[in-house]
C-alpha cells in the first residue's frame, strides 16, 4: 500500500493553492485525505503533486447567515456533527456527518473534500443534494456558485475545473421534517443504499449509492409533492435509475432497498 511518487506542497492560502493548481496539469488538493489517499495507495490515482489545504483556517467555519448556513469547505465532519448552529437550523446535516465512516474519519475528513470527491456512495454529497445547497467555487478568475443539482457530473466527477477550489457550502435552513436512512452492514461502511429526505415546503429525496453520483429520487418526489401516499411514492424510488451491482448488493436488491428506505424516511420525516 504505497502510492506512486508525488510532490507535496502545503498552501498558505486559498489563493496560493489556486496558483499551484493553475500551474499543473494534474495537481490535486488534499484536505483530510480520507478519499484521495486510499485511491493513491491502491495506485488507482497518481497525481504528480498534492496541494495540502487541510490547515487553512480561513475555510473552517459554520456561520448563520439568516436564511442559510454557510459552511467553510475545510470544516471537519466532527465539527458538523457537534455544531449547535447546524443542530438548530440544519439538523439533517449534523446527523449525516455523524454517520460518515468512523470517529477517526470524522475527525480528519472535511465536508468540502467529501463533496469535491463527488462519490455517489458518500453520505454528505447526497445530503447537500436533498438540501438544495449551493457550492461556492473560487478560481483565479473569481468566484462562482453552483447549485447542488448541477454539481455532481459523473463517477468521481464534479463541476470543478482544474484551477478551481470549492470554498464554501451554503445550506438553506430546514423548517420541516427530515430523515436520513443509511443501510449498511457495518457501522463504519459506506451506505449500500442511503436515503435523505428534506421537507422544506416541498419534499426532496436523494439517494446514496444508487448510481455513479448522488441522485434525486425524482419520481418519488413528484408523486409525494402531488399528493400520492407515502407507500405509492416509495414504490417509485428507483424509477429511471440504474443502480450498480457489487459484493454487498445486486441492482435488484438495491431497488428494493431504495423503496423500503424511502418509505421509512418519508414516514419519519412526516412524523
Amino acid at each position: 500500500m504505497f502510492p506512486s511518487t508525488f510532490d507535496y506542497v502545503r498552501a498558505g492560502s486559498v489563493a496560493e493553492a489556486i496558483s499551484i493548481l493553475d500551474g499543473s496539469d494534474d495537481a490535486k488538493l488534499i484536505a483530510g485525505g480520507h478519499s484521495l489517499l486510499p485511491l493513491m495507495k491502491l495506485r488507482l490515482a497518481a497525481p504528480s503533486t498534492l496541494v495540502d489545504i487541510g490547515r487553512l483556517s480561513e475555510l473552517n467555519y459554520i456561520e448563520d447567515r439568516g436564511d442559510h448556513v454557510a459552511i467553510g469547505a475545510l470544516t471537519r465532519h466532527r465539527d458538523l456533527e457537534t455544531s449547535a448552529v447546524l443542530k438548530h437550523s440544519v439538523p439533517i446535516l449534523s446527523h449525516v456527518a455523524g454517520e460518515v465512516g468512523d470517529p477517526a474519519v470524522r475527525h480528519r475528513g472535511t465536508i468540502g473534500g467529501s463533496i469535491a470527491h463527488g462519490d455517489g456512495a458518500s453520505d454528505l454529497p447526497a445530503a447537500v443534494l436533498a438540501l438544495d445547497a449551493t457550492m461556492v467555487v473560487r478560481s483565479a478568475s473569481g468566484e462562482r456558485t453552483v447549485p447542488a443539482a448541477n454539481f455532481f457530473k459523473g463517477f468521481l466527477e464534479t463541476d470543478l475545473g482544474q484551477g478551481e477550489v470549492l470554498t464554501e457550502i451554503r445550506v438553506p435552513k430546514v423548517s420541516g421534517g427530515w430523515a436520513y436512512k443509511k443501510f449498511n452492514r457495518r457501522a463504519q461502511d459506506w451506505a449500500i443504499v442511503g436515503v435523505a429526505v428534506v421537507r422544506n415546503g416541498s419534499t426532496r429525496i436523494s439517494l446514496v449509492n444508487m448510481g455513479s453520483t448522488p441522485l434525486r429520487a425524482s419520481a418519488s418526489e413528484n408523486a409525494i409533492n402531488q399528493g400520492a401516499s407515502i407507500e405509492e411514492a416509495a414504490n417509485l424510488a428507483s424509477e429511471g435509475i440504474d443502480p450498480p451491482s457489487d459484493l454487498n448488493a445486486s441492482a435488484e436488491y438495491r431497488r428494493h432497498l431504495a423503496s423500503v428506505l424511502v418509505r421509512r424516511a418519508l414516514q419519519e420525516a412526516s412524523a
Binding site: 500500500m1 504505497f2 511518487t5 491502491l42 443501510f183 452492514r185 461502511d189 459484493l247 432497498l257 423500503v260
Partner: protein, 792 residues
Amino acid sequence: MTTTETTSGSKVLGQRVLRREDPKLLTGEAKFSDDLDIPGALHMAVLRSTVAHARITSIDTSAAKSRPGVVAVYTYDDLKDDWAGPMPCAWPVTADMKNPAHFPLANGKVNYVGDGVAVVLAHSKTAAVDALEAIEVGYEELDPVLDLEESLADSNVIHSEIGTNLSYTWELIPNKEAVDDAFAKAAYTVSERYIQQRLVPSAMEPRAVVVVPAPFGGDYTVYSATQVPHILKVMLALTVGVSETKLRVVAPSVGGGFGSKLNVYAEEVLALALARKLRRPVRWTEERSENAVATIHGRGQIQNIELAADADGKVTAVRVNLVADMGAYLQLVTPGIPLLGAFLYHGVYDIPNYSFTCRSVFTNKTPTDAYRGAGRPEATYAIERAMDALARKVGVSAVEIRKRNFIPTEKFPYNSAAGLVFDSGDYLTNFNKALDMMGMDELLAEKKLRIDAGSRKLLGIGISFFVEMCGLAPSRVLASLNYGAGGWEAATVRILPTSKIQVVTGTAPHGQGHETAWSMIVAEKLGVPLADIEVLHSDTAIAPYGMDTYGSRSLAVGGSAIHIATERVLDKAKAIAAHQLEVAEEDLDYAEGVFTVKGSPDRAFPLAAAALEAFTAHNLPDGMEPNLEASVSWDPPNFTFPYGSHIAVVEVDTETGKVDLVRYQAVDDCGNRVNPLIIEGQVHGGIAQGVAQALFEEASYDSAGNLISATLADYLVPSAAELPSFELGETVTPSPTNPLGVKGIGEAGTIASTPAVMNAIVDALSHLGIENIEMPASPERVWRAISAATRK
C-alpha cells in the same frame, strides 16, 4: 467488571490478574518485526500473479533491474539451485496423498492470483515496490478451477504432474454395515448440505520477516511474525539448506495469528535464501492487500451430513461426506485441517455409529490452512445445524433434541464412536445453567408475540452446544494421523542466585498472555511475587525446544510442563533446605517462599537462601548438582475436551433481510480457570470471529478467479459496533488429562458461535418454511430467502 492486581500468595490461580504484557503493547514499547531497525537491510518485494491459472510465457526483469535503488531481481530460474527442498508440508495425511512440489516462486506456471512470480531487492521499500511495476510477465491463460465439485470431476487438472485434482481421500468408518443398518431402521433422517465459505485471516499485524546474517560464522537470525518459531527453524533448515545449528529464529511481539502464522511461507524462505546469496540483511513486510491473497485462507468446505434417529429423536448414526478446498498447493498443515474436525461430527451427542469421509481437492485459489478452530468449527457447525434440522423434523424444540442426545455424565471418560476418549464433562448441568441465565421462556414468548403481531422484526434464538478436542496433542496419536511432529511441550524453571525466577517456555504467544498466565502458575506453586518471575519465549537461542502455539494447546500442554518443572525445582530446594536445617524433607512445610520445620515454625529456611546455596554449591547434599533449575518435556496422555452452551438471539428485518445480533450468551467449561480476565478476552474475540463467519466475512472470487473482497473495505471484519455486549458464564469440570486440570479456551468462541447465529436466523424464519441460508447471511441473501418463501 472488576480487575485486581494480585502479586503473590497461594491463591494466584483463578484471579483476574491484569496482563503484564499490556503496558509495553499499549505504550508502543513492544517491538514487532517491522519495527526492528536493521542498518543496511535490503527491502524485498514480491511480484504476484494477477491471473488465477496460466503458463508463464516470458518474464522481462531488465527494466526493473535498472531502476534506481534496485539491487537484484530474481525469478524461479535464477534461484532454482538455492533450495534444498520444496516448500514444506508437514502433514501427509495418507501414504498416497498427492502433494505437487512447489517453490517460493512459480516455476513456469501460476496457480492462483497472488502466486509469487519474481522478487525484487532494493535499498528502500518504495524502490522495491515501484520496481515491481517495471517487470513484464507474459501469461498464456488457462481456465481456472474454482468450484470444489468441478475440481473433483477432474475435467480440468491443475497440476498435470499428479494427473488429478484430488489430493487425498481420508475415511473414518469404524463399521459401515452398522451405519447403513442404522439409516435403514431410522424413524427420522435428515440430510443437510452446508457450505463453509473461505475466510481471510486478518491479524492486526500482517506477516513480516527480517533475516540478519551474523558478521562471521555463517549464522543467521530470522525475526518473523510467526506463531511457530521452533517449527520454522526446522523447516527453514530443510528447505533452504542451512544447518539448523546456524539458525536462530525469533518471534518478536506478534500481533495475532489465528492460525495464519502457523506456517512456513515463501517470503520467509526467500528472505533467508537471499540473505545468504547476497550476504546482506533482507527484510519484508506484507502489505494489507497482499495479506488477502498471499497469506493462507481458512475454511473452504462443502459438508454433507446425514443423521439417523429413532422414533424418540435419539440419534443412532451420523454420516459425513466432506469436500475440502486445499487451494493451489499444500502449505504446512493444509491437508490435516479437515482431520482436526473428523472425530467431532457427533458433537456432544451419544451417537453409536459413525462414518466420515473427506475428499480434498486443489483449486486455483490461495492455499488454505489452519484458521482459528481449524476443522472443529466446521464439524460443530454441521452437527449443530443438523440437530436443529432434526428437531424440526421430530417436532421437538432445539433444547429438547439436545437433552435427549447428550453424552450422559456417567459415561465419562467417554469412548466415542469415532475413537476418542472424551476426558470429562457434565453437559446437562452446563446446558441448564445456560438456559436459566438466558431466560428462555420470556424469549420464546416474545418471539411468538412478534410473529402473531406481524412484526417486521422477527426474533430468532439459536443454540450451539460445542465440544472440541484441544491441548494438541499426545505424540503417539499425532503419529497415527501422520503428523510430522510430536505434541509435547518443553519448559525450564530456573531460580537465579538473587532468587529471581526465569521461566523458559516452548510456547510462542502472539496475543494470548502467556507471560502473565505462566507466571501465575509458577507463583501459585512457589508463593513468590509475580514481579520476581520472568517468562522467556519465542527465541530458539533461549528456548531451544518447543512445539509453539496453536490449537488451544499452550496452557494444557505448555502450562503443565511449567507446573511440573516448578514442582521439581521446589523439590530440589526442599532437599537443600532439609540439608541446611538438618531435618528430613518430610518434616518440612512450605508456604510463601519459606520452608519451615513442622511443629517448629521458627526453624525456617527461605527459598531465596536455597537458590543462593544451589548457586554457591558450598554446602549441598552429597551428590546433588549445583544450580536450582529443572527442565521438563511433557507429552500429554490425551487431548482435552472443552465444551459449552452458546446461545444467540437475532432480530431479522423481514423487509431488508438485515440480521442484528441482539444478545449473545456463552457458558463455557474450560476446566480449571487460571485467569478469568484472559479467558473472557479469548471468548469475546472468539465469538466475534465466529459471528464474522456467520454474518460478515467471505473471500469472494469472480469467475476468473480474482479475489474481489481483497481490501478491508470489501472484506467485512466486524467491529464492536456490530456486536452486543456478550453475557458470559461458566461451569468448571477439571480435566483429568493434565496436572492443572485445564482444557483450553483460545478457539472455543469461534467454534461455537457460528452455528449459534445461523441457527438463530433459521429459527426466526422457520415458520416461513426456511431451513437454510448460506453464510455469510448477508441482508440480500436473507431477503431473497424470505422473498422466495413468501412467494410460495
